[in-house]
Symmetry: C2
Subunit: 140 residues, 2 copies
Protein backbone atom coordinates (compact mmCIF):
# COMPACT_ATOMS: atom_id res chain seq x y z
CA UNK A 1 0.00 0.00 0.00
CA UNK A 2 1.36 3.45 -0.83
CA UNK A 3 1.95 6.01 1.90
CA UNK A 4 -0.77 8.11 0.27
CA UNK A 5 -3.43 5.42 0.32
CA UNK A 6 -2.46 4.45 3.88
CA UNK A 7 -3.07 8.07 4.91
CA UNK A 8 -6.40 8.17 3.05
CA UNK A 9 -7.54 4.96 4.74
CA UNK A 10 -6.15 5.34 8.24
CA UNK A 11 -5.78 9.10 8.68
CA UNK A 12 -8.23 11.49 10.28
CA UNK A 13 -7.71 14.17 7.68
CA UNK A 14 -10.81 14.81 5.57
CA UNK A 15 -9.55 14.40 2.01
CA UNK A 16 -12.40 13.30 -0.26
CA UNK A 17 -11.21 11.69 -3.47
CA UNK A 18 -13.39 13.01 -6.26
CA UNK A 19 -13.72 11.11 -9.52
CA UNK A 20 -12.88 12.56 -12.95
CA UNK A 21 -16.20 14.43 -12.89
CA UNK A 22 -15.40 15.93 -9.48
CA UNK A 23 -17.90 13.76 -7.61
CA UNK A 24 -18.13 11.31 -4.74
CA UNK A 25 -21.00 8.84 -4.34
CA UNK A 26 -23.39 9.51 -1.48
CA UNK A 27 -25.71 6.95 0.11
CA UNK A 28 -28.52 8.37 2.24
CA UNK A 29 -30.16 6.04 4.74
CA UNK A 30 -33.14 6.60 6.99
CA UNK A 31 -31.74 7.26 10.47
CA UNK A 32 -34.77 5.59 12.03
CA UNK A 33 -35.07 2.40 9.96
CA UNK A 34 -31.69 1.93 8.24
CA UNK A 35 -33.41 1.70 4.84
CA UNK A 36 -31.45 3.09 1.93
CA UNK A 37 -33.38 6.11 0.68
CA UNK A 38 -31.27 7.12 -2.32
CA UNK A 39 -27.87 7.01 -3.98
CA UNK A 40 -26.69 10.30 -5.45
CA UNK A 41 -23.54 12.37 -5.93
CA UNK A 42 -21.85 15.29 -4.21
CA UNK A 43 -19.20 17.63 -5.56
CA UNK A 44 -16.89 19.58 -3.28
CA UNK A 45 -19.40 22.39 -2.82
CA UNK A 46 -22.28 20.01 -2.04
CA UNK A 47 -20.11 18.24 0.54
CA UNK A 48 -19.07 21.50 2.17
CA UNK A 49 -22.63 22.88 2.25
CA UNK A 50 -23.95 19.63 3.71
CA UNK A 51 -21.33 19.70 6.47
CA UNK A 52 -21.85 23.39 7.18
CA UNK A 53 -25.67 23.42 7.17
CA UNK A 54 -26.64 19.93 8.34
CA UNK A 55 -29.01 19.67 5.37
CA UNK A 56 -28.26 17.38 2.42
CA UNK A 57 -26.98 19.04 -0.76
CA UNK A 58 -26.20 17.08 -3.91
CA UNK A 59 -24.85 17.62 -7.39
CA UNK A 60 -27.20 16.59 -10.19
CA UNK A 61 -25.34 15.03 -13.10
CA UNK A 62 -28.37 15.30 -15.39
CA UNK A 63 -28.96 18.97 -14.60
CA UNK A 64 -25.26 19.74 -14.01
CA UNK A 65 -26.25 21.77 -10.98
CA UNK A 66 -25.86 21.97 -7.24
CA UNK A 67 -29.11 21.12 -5.55
CA UNK A 68 -30.43 21.30 -2.01
CA UNK A 69 -32.49 18.18 -1.37
CA UNK A 70 -36.13 19.23 -1.08
CA UNK A 71 -35.68 22.72 -2.50
CA UNK A 72 -38.51 22.07 -4.99
CA UNK A 73 -40.45 19.27 -3.30
CA UNK A 74 -40.05 20.34 0.33
CA UNK A 75 -38.85 16.81 1.10
CA UNK A 76 -35.66 17.83 2.88
CA UNK A 77 -33.05 15.68 4.61
CA UNK A 78 -31.53 16.63 7.95
CA UNK A 79 -28.19 14.93 8.40
CA UNK A 80 -27.81 13.07 11.69
CA UNK A 81 -24.35 11.71 10.89
CA UNK A 82 -21.97 11.67 7.93
CA UNK A 83 -19.33 9.02 7.44
CA UNK A 84 -16.56 8.53 4.85
CA UNK A 85 -15.47 5.15 3.53
CA UNK A 86 -11.97 3.70 3.53
CA UNK A 87 -11.08 5.14 0.11
CA UNK A 88 -12.75 8.49 0.89
CA UNK A 89 -14.64 8.30 -2.39
CA UNK A 90 -18.04 7.44 -0.92
CA UNK A 91 -20.09 9.17 1.76
CA UNK A 92 -22.83 7.70 3.93
CA UNK A 93 -25.33 10.07 5.51
CA UNK A 94 -27.93 9.00 8.03
CA UNK A 95 -30.82 11.42 7.63
CA UNK A 96 -34.16 12.41 8.99
CA UNK A 97 -36.19 12.42 5.79
CA UNK A 98 -39.20 14.69 5.48
CA UNK A 99 -41.79 12.75 3.48
CA UNK A 100 -40.37 11.02 0.42
CA UNK A 101 -36.78 10.90 -0.83
CA UNK A 102 -37.67 9.74 -4.35
CA UNK A 103 -38.84 12.10 -7.10
CA UNK A 104 -41.48 9.47 -7.96
CA UNK A 105 -43.12 10.21 -4.61
CA UNK A 106 -41.96 7.10 -2.77
CA UNK A 107 -40.21 7.17 0.59
CA UNK A 108 -37.15 5.47 -0.95
CA UNK A 109 -35.85 5.24 -4.51
CA UNK A 110 -35.53 1.49 -3.90
CA UNK A 111 -39.21 0.52 -4.22
CA UNK A 112 -38.62 -2.59 -6.34
CA UNK A 113 -36.95 -5.83 -5.38
CA UNK A 114 -35.15 -8.11 -7.81
CA UNK A 115 -36.38 -11.68 -8.13
CA UNK A 116 -35.02 -14.60 -10.07
CA UNK A 117 -37.15 -15.53 -13.08
CA UNK A 118 -36.51 -18.01 -15.87
CA UNK A 119 -32.73 -17.81 -15.52
CA UNK A 120 -32.92 -14.01 -15.53
CA UNK A 121 -34.58 -11.52 -13.24
CA UNK A 122 -37.66 -9.40 -12.85
CA UNK A 123 -38.80 -6.69 -10.44
CA UNK A 124 -41.59 -6.65 -7.88
CA UNK A 125 -42.94 -3.61 -6.08
CA UNK A 126 -42.14 -3.34 -2.37
CA UNK A 127 -42.81 -0.36 -0.09
CA UNK A 128 -43.97 1.44 -3.25
CA UNK A 129 -46.76 3.57 -1.85
CA UNK A 130 -46.59 7.16 -3.12
CA UNK A 131 -46.44 9.86 -0.46
CA UNK A 132 -46.93 12.64 -2.99
CA UNK A 133 -47.99 13.04 -6.61
CA UNK A 134 -44.92 14.06 -8.61
CA UNK A 135 -47.10 15.70 -11.29
CA UNK A 136 -48.32 18.14 -8.65
CA UNK A 137 -44.92 18.77 -7.04
CA UNK A 138 -42.64 19.17 -10.05
CA UNK A 139 -43.32 21.33 -13.07
CA UNK A 140 -43.02 19.26 -16.20
CA UNK B 1 -40.70 12.27 -18.85
CA UNK B 2 -39.90 10.13 -21.86
CA UNK B 3 -41.72 6.83 -22.43
CA UNK B 4 -38.37 5.09 -21.91
CA UNK B 5 -37.63 6.63 -18.52
CA UNK B 6 -41.24 6.03 -17.40
CA UNK B 7 -40.76 2.36 -18.20
CA UNK B 8 -37.42 2.25 -16.36
CA UNK B 9 -38.95 3.90 -13.29
CA UNK B 10 -42.38 2.30 -13.15
CA UNK B 11 -41.96 -0.98 -15.02
CA UNK B 12 -41.23 -4.38 -13.55
CA UNK B 13 -38.75 -5.30 -16.25
CA UNK B 14 -35.20 -5.68 -14.95
CA UNK B 15 -33.20 -3.35 -17.17
CA UNK B 16 -30.11 -2.10 -15.33
CA UNK B 17 -28.66 1.05 -16.81
CA UNK B 18 -24.90 0.67 -16.84
CA UNK B 19 -22.64 3.71 -17.02
CA UNK B 20 -20.01 4.29 -19.72
CA UNK B 21 -17.73 1.82 -17.94
CA UNK B 22 -20.48 -0.83 -17.89
CA UNK B 23 -21.14 -0.52 -14.16
CA UNK B 24 -23.91 0.16 -11.69
CA UNK B 25 -23.28 1.31 -8.13
CA UNK B 26 -24.04 -1.21 -5.40
CA UNK B 27 -24.66 -0.40 -1.73
CA UNK B 28 -24.42 -3.32 0.68
CA UNK B 29 -26.09 -2.94 4.06
CA UNK B 30 -26.05 -5.25 7.06
CA UNK B 31 -29.41 -7.05 7.04
CA UNK B 32 -29.40 -7.15 10.84
CA UNK B 33 -28.44 -3.57 11.73
CA UNK B 34 -29.08 -1.48 8.59
CA UNK B 35 -25.50 -0.17 8.68
CA UNK B 36 -23.91 0.53 5.32
CA UNK B 37 -21.07 -1.95 4.93
CA UNK B 38 -19.62 -0.85 1.60
CA UNK B 39 -20.22 0.89 -1.70
CA UNK B 40 -18.87 -0.89 -4.76
CA UNK B 41 -19.70 -1.61 -8.39
CA UNK B 42 -21.22 -4.42 -10.40
CA UNK B 43 -21.03 -5.09 -14.10
CA UNK B 44 -23.59 -7.19 -15.93
CA UNK B 45 -21.82 -10.44 -15.07
CA UNK B 46 -21.47 -9.53 -11.37
CA UNK B 47 -25.17 -8.68 -11.22
CA UNK B 48 -26.17 -11.92 -12.91
CA UNK B 49 -23.91 -14.05 -10.71
CA UNK B 50 -25.17 -12.33 -7.57
CA UNK B 51 -28.78 -12.99 -8.55
CA UNK B 52 -28.10 -16.57 -9.58
CA UNK B 53 -25.97 -17.60 -6.59
CA UNK B 54 -27.25 -15.45 -3.73
CA UNK B 55 -23.65 -14.47 -2.93
CA UNK B 56 -22.36 -10.95 -3.64
CA UNK B 57 -20.12 -10.54 -6.71
CA UNK B 58 -18.58 -7.22 -7.67
CA UNK B 59 -16.43 -5.71 -10.37
CA UNK B 60 -13.20 -4.14 -9.17
CA UNK B 61 -12.36 -0.99 -11.09
CA UNK B 62 -8.79 -0.94 -9.75
CA UNK B 63 -8.09 -4.57 -10.66
CA UNK B 64 -10.42 -4.53 -13.71
CA UNK B 65 -11.75 -7.91 -12.65
CA UNK B 66 -14.87 -9.71 -11.55
CA UNK B 67 -14.62 -10.63 -7.90
CA UNK B 68 -16.64 -12.78 -5.53
CA UNK B 69 -16.79 -10.99 -2.21
CA UNK B 70 -14.73 -12.93 0.28
CA UNK B 71 -12.93 -15.13 -2.25
CA UNK B 72 -9.56 -14.17 -0.71
CA UNK B 73 -10.57 -13.09 2.80
CA UNK B 74 -13.37 -15.57 3.45
CA UNK B 75 -15.56 -12.62 4.45
CA UNK B 76 -18.48 -13.48 2.18
CA UNK B 77 -21.86 -11.79 1.80
CA UNK B 78 -25.10 -13.77 1.52
CA UNK B 79 -27.74 -11.65 -0.17
CA UNK B 80 -31.04 -11.51 1.72
CA UNK B 81 -32.69 -9.08 -0.69
CA UNK B 82 -31.69 -7.05 -3.74
CA UNK B 83 -33.46 -3.88 -4.79
CA UNK B 84 -33.08 -1.53 -7.80
CA UNK B 85 -33.51 2.22 -7.60
CA UNK B 86 -35.85 4.36 -9.69
CA UNK B 87 -33.27 4.97 -12.43
CA UNK B 88 -32.08 1.33 -12.37
CA UNK B 89 -28.49 2.53 -12.10
CA UNK B 90 -28.00 1.68 -8.43
CA UNK B 91 -28.52 -1.57 -6.54
CA UNK B 92 -29.09 -2.05 -2.82
CA UNK B 93 -28.32 -5.45 -1.33
CA UNK B 94 -29.15 -6.38 2.25
CA UNK B 95 -26.60 -9.00 3.25
CA UNK B 96 -25.55 -11.38 5.97
CA UNK B 97 -21.89 -10.40 6.27
CA UNK B 98 -19.38 -12.96 7.47
CA UNK B 99 -16.87 -11.06 9.61
CA UNK B 100 -15.70 -7.80 8.07
CA UNK B 101 -16.74 -6.18 4.79
CA UNK B 102 -13.78 -3.81 4.60
CA UNK B 103 -10.33 -4.82 3.32
CA UNK B 104 -8.87 -2.89 6.29
CA UNK B 105 -10.42 -5.51 8.59
CA UNK B 106 -13.32 -3.43 9.86
CA UNK B 107 -16.93 -4.61 9.80
CA UNK B 108 -17.86 -1.64 7.55
CA UNK B 109 -15.82 0.55 5.20
CA UNK B 110 -17.47 3.51 6.94
CA UNK B 111 -15.42 3.52 10.16
CA UNK B 112 -14.90 7.29 10.29
CA UNK B 113 -17.43 10.02 10.86
CA UNK B 114 -17.10 13.55 9.53
CA UNK B 115 -17.12 16.40 12.02
CA UNK B 116 -17.10 20.15 11.53
CA UNK B 117 -13.78 21.75 12.43
CA UNK B 118 -12.58 25.32 11.97
CA UNK B 119 -14.90 25.97 9.04
CA UNK B 120 -13.78 22.72 7.43
CA UNK B 121 -14.04 19.10 8.48
CA UNK B 122 -12.07 16.32 10.09
CA UNK B 123 -12.63 12.63 10.68
CA UNK B 124 -13.09 10.68 13.89
CA UNK B 125 -12.97 6.91 14.27
CA UNK B 126 -16.26 5.16 15.02
CA UNK B 127 -16.92 1.41 15.05
CA UNK B 128 -13.30 1.07 13.87
CA UNK B 129 -12.29 -2.13 15.64
CA UNK B 130 -10.47 -4.53 13.33
CA UNK B 131 -11.94 -8.02 13.04
CA UNK B 132 -8.94 -9.32 11.11
CA UNK B 133 -5.39 -8.25 10.31
CA UNK B 134 -5.25 -7.37 6.61
CA UNK B 135 -1.50 -8.09 6.49
CA UNK B 136 -2.27 -11.69 7.38
CA UNK B 137 -5.25 -12.08 5.07
CA UNK B 138 -4.05 -10.43 1.86
CA UNK B 139 -0.73 -11.05 0.19
CA UNK B 140 1.05 -7.74 -0.34
Amino acid sequence: MSAHSHDVEEGLSFQPRFDAAGLVTCVATDAATGDVLMVAHMNDEALRKTIATGEAWYFSRSRNALWRKGETSGQTQRVVQMRMDCAQDAVWIRVEQVGAACHTGRRSCFYRKVEQADGGAQLALVDAERLFDPDKVYRK
